[in-house]
Symmetry: C2
Subunit: 213 residues, 2 copies
DNA sequence: GATTATAGTTCACATATGTCAACTGACATG
DNA sequence: CATGTCAGTTGACATATGTGAACTATAATC
């Protein structure tokens, strides 16, 4: 009985917490994280600077939460992409469509990831790259379904997954910089790049071969 | 006669200008550009804040100069890579060695490029990506020498060059984050990725084919 | 209904920033 | 040698920042 009614207070706290997060993401579409001040964020969120500390110890802590949230988006994207993946020969096209769609629905998350991946805050960079690694590993699992790849070593699969992930990430980063009219061109180029990679797959003879060739 | 002796004054100005540039690059190894303050830079360079304006209108102008300087490094690297490129089957290995070497000699330039490419300052991002584009185009020229590629369309070549450039850039960015002991692993992985790409090249059937497949 | 916990505010501080106006001093020119 | 140019300094300003101490008000507990 004592626990059920304790919701309104926590709920409203969560509300302004979300306001802080959204405020930060909004501001981060124009500046990078380490030039973002605590006061800016609270101003945008509509609260007093000192109230910030009721939610986070630190701006860095906020940043880490942003990383977490951003990658939840990515995770959902992967789920969608998997459900679409019919492997009817048009996997690349389908997957890219899913990515582009999610990018439009979660612009700020994607931009945050792209920007802070090599950004000026060490812990953030590390966190982003760790998550990105997990993401690529996840992708590597799916790649087993690709004809031929199932016989590859784990390392080789990760190598491939890394290449694909990077190529897609770069596409997203590029798309975020341009207008909608230039989108098809970039997407098409990426499609070609992924296809080129996929053409190399059947010819792959292992990392060792690469070493001596 | 009036012009010859006017060197000392200009020389010393150039000296502190270089000091500002070096100071900025040093500080940028830890923070991103848009969190870098004019005063920090002048402090590091050993001059007064207001003296900054004798050299640059603006921090942004300094930033653009940094872009220019950084890509001069890259240009020299390309020259070196070309002279090495014996095409004896080990081109990839050779080229990567050149890149890694240059990275060690110009750490701050490379880091600056990687960081500001998707960083928080619009004009800087644009400048970096413009130069990167030129760099990739330059690489595309060299690719004609690759068997088969000489018959490709210009667009397809640029697509290939973009993929290669990106892969190498990402390797550099990764190398900058880690210790020297982990270097070989990253380089090896990149070598494999480039090899995988090169294996796709002979099988490439054009952008149109990619469109319908 | 009285009491307590706490999200958010107010006020205050020390410190950092970009930039202006006026100055200094050394070099370069006449 | 007298003079003007100009790189760099001084001092000051308005403004921004992070954060501490004390406060207010309201929801949750007894």
């Amino acid at each position: 009985m004592t626990k059920r009614s304790s919701s309104t207070r926590l709920e409203s706290k969560e509300l302004t917490r979300q306001a802080l997060i959204r405020a930060a993401l909004k501001l981060l579409s124009q500046n990078s994280f380490d030039s973002l001040s605590l006061r800016e964020v609270t101003r945008e969120a509509g609260i007093t600077p000192t109230a910030f500390y009721r939610h986070f110890d630190d701006m860095e802590e906020l940043g880490l939460v942003l990383v977490e949230e951003s990658f939840q988006s990515l995770g959902e994207m992967l789920k969608d992409a998997r459900s679409q993946s019919s492997f009817d020969g048009d996997t690349i096209k389908m997957s890219l469509a899913v990515v582009v769609m999610h990018m439009h629905n979660h612009t700020s998350h994607f931009r945050f990831i792209a920007r802070e991946r090599y950004g000026g805050v060490r812990r953030l960079r590390r966190a982003v790259n760790r998550e990105l690694q997990l993401f690529a590993d996840e992708l590597a699992i799916d790649l087993v379904a690709m004809p031929g790849v199932d016989k590859w070593t784990t390392d080789d699969r990760r190598m491939l997954a890394g290449l694909i992930t990077e190529t897609i990430i770069r596409m997203v980063a590029e798309l975020l910089e341009i207008g909608p009219d230039e989108e098809p061109e970039i997407v098409e180029r990426t499609k070609c790049q992924l296809r080129l990679i996929s053409l190399g797959v059947p010819a792959w003879d292992g990392a060792l071969a690469a070493g001596r060739a």
